[in-house]
Each structure stands twice: as structure tokens, then as C-alpha cells.
């Protein structure tokens, strides 16, 4: 009983935080002077400009998806399956662009190439370098779920190329398709990079309608195509892939399989991959360091943005803590199918995650901008709520994967010993899932810290974060100062990541688990 009540309360809370804002936004957009009206929508749909934006969004997302999967899948196989040298280190390098605010790479490349980067090719290239780790990482994760005997059975009759074609790639295909959907939707909703590179896409339109003209109804109407595309792809994902991606468990004897030997190709392939890492990650980061110049610029940047930096870290810590908690609860609900609505909860979280940040931001304003809720709307609470709404899907999926490795019998043994559900959760399940909680917190921290789409729209005056500060300075700030701020942002992201990663490794070794 306590379990059902608690989980039901958590679901209702999540609905209020994540789903109600979007619902409220649509409800308000179809009411004109107290009457039902679709006028804002017909205006948007009837405009050829909007359809051009839609075409641009689709082309950009399609290109990013295609190249990310075409490069990410082989990289994932190289890092996850072969005897490729320094594979963990290089995989880590490729992940860096995903961890930092997207526009930082746009700033860096534009410092290097100037106007030559503007338009579709530049936006596609930068988003490709940001989202490339998604198919790469998902391929690596799915590779670890394959029973090694399936590949060994194929190895008895075929070389590795045949095994990859006939067995390995078909078995990781659900992960690859999921990554393709995610990359498409995340590119579709991304507005800071296309905005900076002057490539007009749909999210830029809704952001402009809202922030420049404060035309709430037009901004909402401009989000409709984004929502429709998101829903269509999510339904497809739910129909074809969801069951295959829920119960991701590493195969117990995965390390018993001999790695794919690259033989004479080992070093030539390494060189090619290292050059790719150099171009996609090292060069843009180095450009920022060079552009920023001396320590005096960093000192000036730090003095000017100290408050923003501290606020960013504070909000990210608070957001990550709430996200780890909510992710754990919803992850438990989904993994154990503890309430009838587990699938709806999962779909709702994923829907909000892939929904463009501008839509979520406008929804939050629509719901909370009332005299009764000033304590939320005019304080950093609105930012934290936005983080929880947007990113719980991530921490929930991480918890699902970790909870899946804890046999149900562990809980049952505690219960037959007389422990109640809460006691079992606190004393048995949570400690056993500590790694998942730590990873959830870390992922939550990174995504809260790098968030700009939601924060940009909802932050109350005087509560701006560092990403927002950088973004607003990009229009007319000094390039040196912006480069220094971007470098500070990267350090603020990567330092805790490195620290917690090292701590997790140390704990793993000390606890021998």
C-alpha cells in the first residue's frame, strides 16, 4: 500500500512538473479572448515562411542523424569490441562536445573560420560533432548486452566482417535506431547553434516570437510542428524499439569473448580515428584557449561572471540531486512495472526530454506566471523545475538499467524478513543501486549545467546562469572574453566529471564490487 501511494504521488508530481506546463501552454494558445480559436495556428500553417523553416529543420536534423550514425556505429564497434589502442581515452575525448553547451563549439569554429561556417553545412557539422557520441555510446552499451556465445557461434564459420554483418550489427540495431531517433529529435530541437550560425530553423522561430516580440500565441503555434514531429518519432520508437531497449543488462560473461583483432589495420585505423578526434574536439577547444589569450582575460572573465558561475553550479547541484531522486523512483516504477501506468510515465518523460527546450520553457512560463505562484516564477525554483521536467528521462533510464541488475528476490528476501517497502528501498535497493544513483547525479549535473534553452526563457532577472551570460554576450562581447568564459564553462563541467569518475573507480576497487 505504502509503495503504491508513494509511487502514485511521485507520478502526480512529475505530471505537474513536466506535463502540465506543456498542456497549459496549448490550452492558453487556443483561447482568444475567452473563446476557442485556432487562428494563431492557421496563421502559422498558412505561411510559406513556416514551411521553409520546417524544411530547413528536417534537412538539418536528417543530415546530422545520417552522419552521426554513419560514423558513430563504426566508432562504437571499434571502441566496444576491438583491440583498438587507447579506446577508453579516445571514447572519452569524443564525448566531450556532448557535455558542454552546444554553442561553445559554434563560437570556437566561428573564431577559426569566420563567416565561412555560417549556414547549413556549418550547423550540420557542429551538431554532428556534438551528437556523434550518442550512437557511439549506445552501440557500445548494446554491444555489452550481446551474449558472447552468439558471436562465437558465428566465429566458427565466419571471419569478423561476416560476424559483424550477420550477427553483431543486427543485434545492436535497436540501439542504433534509438540513437538515430534521439539524434534527429535533439538536432530538431536545438536552437542555439542554428541561431548563432544564422540558419533559420523552427525552434529559432518560436524562440524569436516569444523573446523578441513576446507573442505568446504565435510562439506556441510555432511549436506545434515540433511537437508533431516529436510525437510521430516517439510513437515509432515505442512501437518498434521500446521493449528491446527497456531491459538493458550487460551479458554476464561479456569479457570472455576475445576482442576483434584489427591486425595490421590497428595503427592505421588508430591514426584515422585520432585525426577525427583532433578535428572534432581538440581543435575547437584549443582555438578557445588560444583566443582567450593570457591569464588577465580569465581573471576579468571570472570577476565579471563569478555570480553566474556560482549560480550555474548551485542550480546544477540542486537539479542533479532532484533528478537522481526522481530518476530512481521513476526508474523503479518502470523497471518493476509497479503501477499500471508505467509505460505512460516513461513515454511522457521521453516526450518532454526530446521536446525542444523552447517549447518546455514557454510551457513553464505559461503555467507558473501567475500572481499565486510568484514564489516559483520569480525565483530559481522555476529553473530547477525546468531541469526536472526536461531531464528526468535520462536519469530514469540510467536507473532502469541499474535496477535491472538487482534481482527481485533481494527485495522479496527483505520483505519476508519483515521489512516494509520504504525500509527495503532505503536499506537494500538504493545501496545496491548506488552506482546508478551516482551516474544519474553526474549526468543530471552535466545536463543542468549545460542547459540554455529552458534557462534562457525562464530565468528571473538577476538569476542568469553562465551559459545564458555567454549566449547573451555572443552578439556584441569581446571574442577574447567569450572564449575565456567558454573555457571556464568547460572546466566547470569537466572537473566534477573527472572527480566523480575517479571516485567511482576508486570505490569500485576498494569495495571489490
Amino acid at each position: 500500500m505504502a509503495k503504491r501511494l508513494f509511487l502514485t504521488f511521485a507520478v502526480l508530481l512529475l505530471v505537474a512538473v513536466a506535463f502540465l506546463p506543456v498542456l497549459s501552454m496549448f490550452a492558453k494558445s487556443i483561447m482568444v479572448e475567452g473563446h476557442f480559436s485556432l487562428a494563431p495556428y492557421s496563421e502559422v500553417m498558412g505561411s510559406s515562411h513556416q514551411w521553409n523553416l520546417m524544411r530547413n529543420s528536417m534537412v538539418l536534423s536528417g543530415l546530422v542523424m545520417f552522419f552521426s550514425v554513419a560514423v558513430g556505429l563504426p566508432l562504437g564497434i571499434l571502441f566496444g569490441k576491438s583491440d583498438f589502442p587507447f579506446r577508453r581515452f579516445l571514447a572519452g575525448i569524443f564525448v566531450v562536445p556532448l557535455l558542454i553547451p552546444p554553442y561553445i563549439l559554434a563560437v570556437s569554429w566561428s573564431d577559426l573560420l569566420g563567416n565561412g561556417l555560417f549556414g547549413l553545412p556549418g550547423a550540420a557539422f557542429i551538431l554532428f560533432s556534438i551528437f556523434l557520441p550518442i550512437p557511439m555510446l549506445l552501440t557500445m552499451v548494446f554491444l555489452r548486452t550481446i551474449n558472447p556465445r552468439l558471436e562465437e557461434a558465428a566465429r566458427l564459420v565466419s571471419g569478423w566482417p561476416g560476424v559483424l554483418r550477420g550477427v553483431t550489427i543486427p543485434l545492436v540495431l535497436p540501439g542504433v535506431l534509438l540513437s538515430a531517433v534521439l539524434v534527429f529529435l535533439l538536432s530538431f530541437g536545438e536552437f542555439s547553434v542554428p541561431n548563432f550560425l544564422r540558419f533559420p530553423v523552427f525552434p529559432v522561430e518560436s524562440f524569436t516570437q516569444f523573446s523578441a516580440f513576446y507573442n505568446f500565441k504565435a510562439a506556441t503555434a510555432a511549436t506545434i510542428p515540433l511537437v508533431v514531429v516529436t510525437l510521430v518519432l516517439l510513437f515509432a520508437e515505442a512501437g518498434f524499439l521500446r521493449e528491446k531497449t527497456y531491459q538493458l543488462r550487460p551479458s554476464p560473461d561479456i569479457d570472455s569473448l576475445a576482442p576483434l583483432g584489427l591486425g595490421g589495420y590497428r595503427w592505421p585505423v588508430f591514426t584515422a580515428v585520432a585525426v577525427l578526434a583532433l578535428v572534432l574536439v581538440i581543435v575547437p577547444l584549443a582555438v578557445l584557449l588560444i583566443q582567450a589569450g593570457g591569464l588577465n582575460i580569465y581573471a576579468e572573465a571570472l570577476v565579471g561572471s563569478w555570480g553566474s558561475l556560482m549560480r550555474s553550479i548551485g542550480y546544477a547541484v540542486a537539479g542533479a540531486t532532484l533528478l537522481a531522486f526522481m530518476g530512481f523512483i521513476t526508474g523503479y516504477l518502470i523497471q518493476r512495472k509497479a503501477l499500471w501506468c508505467w509505460r505512460v510515465v516513461d513515454s511522457m518523460m521521453l516526450f518532454i526530454f526530446v521536446l525542444p527546450s523552447t517549447v518546455v520553457g514557454i510551457g513553464l512560463i505559461s503555467l507558473w506566471n501567475t500572481p499565486e505562484t510568484t514564489f516559483i516564477y520569480s525565483t530559481p525554483l522555476i529553473i530547477i523545475l525546468g531541469y526536472v521536467a526536461k531531464y528526468t528521462a535520462l536519469t530514469s533510464r540510467i536507473s532502469v538499467a541499474h535496477l535491472g541488475q538487482i534481482p527481485l528476490s533481494m527485495e522479496e528476501a527483505a520483505q519476508v524478513s519483515g521489512a516494509g517497502w520504504f525500509h527495503t528501498m532505503v536499506v537494500i535497493v538504493a545501496p545496491m543501486a548506488w552506482r546508478g544513483l551516482a551516474v544519474s547525479w553526474l549526468v543530471g549535473y552535466i545536463f543542468c549545467l549545460r542547459d540554455m534553452g529552458i534557462t534562457m526563457l525562464v530565468y528571473p532577472p538577476g538569476y542568469e546562469t553562465l551559459p545564458v551570460r555567454i549566449f547573451t554576450q555572443m552578439a556584441n562581447g569581446s571574442p577574447q572574453l567569450i572564449a575565456a568564459l567558454c573555457t571556464i564553462m568547460i572546466v566547470a563541467t569537466l572537473l566534477p566529471v573527472g572527480f566523480i569518475w575517479a571516485l567511482l573507480r576508486l570505490l569500485n576497487r576498494k569495495l571489490h564490487i
Binding site: R149, L156, V157, S158, G166, A258
Partner: protein, 212 residues
Amino acid sequence: MKTVTMDSVSKSYNGVKVLDKFSLEIKERERIVLLGASGCGKTTILRLIAGFLVPDMGSISIAGELVARDGRIFKQPEERNLGMVFQDLALWPHLSVKGNVEFGLKARGLPKGEREKRIKETLGLVSLENFINKKPGELSGGQQQRVALARVLVLEPAVILMDEPLSSLDAELNVRLRKEIIQLQEKLGYSLLYVTHNEPEAMEIATRVVRI
């Protein structure tokens, strides 16, 4: 004539010696059963012969040809002309019965007509002609067992390795499939190296039992 020879093979995992100077010869048409408790190295022997592991010391020859010696491997698994039935069967879940059986034939570059003929013959041998388009998940435990066997038989290997293939089946089915395994081996004439920890199973199948 000898089909497989292991000569003074040693193998360690993380400093723990699992096999110490182990030797074994498998002759043509022989059915050898490796009998021993869990963790004694039975599966390691199969994986060394198949080429999934490399012996730290000692040598392994197949059909008179040296395939691995003293930490070095000379022939990859797919070059050894062996078949293996795994403990968990390792049927490829995304492929149909036909796809599972056909995989090795395709890898060897056989033309379509020849492939179809051999698939039909082999599925006939294991009484699975009517399940050709089913996926492994749609079959019973016994039928899955037969698919695993058909996948190996279709390539006509000289030696088949079986790693406790009946351990997950109920007693009645286990006894029935033992007889089928013996009948097929006598009919087709391959050498069989069979691993189990079940003594009655070992006694029924083996022409020679090796205790380790």
C-alpha cells in the same frame, strides 16, 4: 586416424591454473565425453580446441595441422572446420531457423541452390522441416536444441564439440535427445567431444569417458 590432438596444454585465468599439461586425442568417429565437476576446466578445453582461447603452453592440432602453440594461434576459429553446440545454444534470435542454419553456408560462399538443398536435408535429419521460417523464440526447448544441432551438421564438420547441451532440458527430453545425438553421430560419422557433469548421460553417450 586422429582428428584432434591436445599436447601438454596449460591454461591460466588471472593467475589461477585451470588446465595443467592436459593431453587428449580424439580419433575419427569417436564419441568422447569429458566428465567432471563444475569449474574443473571442461569448457576451457572446448574453447581452446575451438580457437576462442589460446593455450599458455602446449599445442593443439586438428586433422594433423598445428592450430595453436605456446600462446600463439595459427588458425582462427572459422578456419578449423569444427562445429560447436553451446550450453545456452546461442541461437541467433533475429534470424529464422533457416537463417541460423544458412549463416555458415553463406559465409563459405555456397551458391543459393546448394544452400537450399543442404538446409532441406539437414532440417529433415533433425525433423524440423516444418519450422523453417520460425524464429528461435517461437520454438520449444527440444526444437531449439535441434536447430543448434542442424546449424552445426549442415557444415559437415569432422569434429563436433558439445558443451552440456542438454543441461537445461527436463529429464524425459534429455534422455530422448541423448539417443538422437548418438544416432546422428553413428549415421554421419563425425567425431564428438561432449562435456557434461551428469554421469549417466556420459555413460550413455560415450565410446570413451575422460574424467578431469
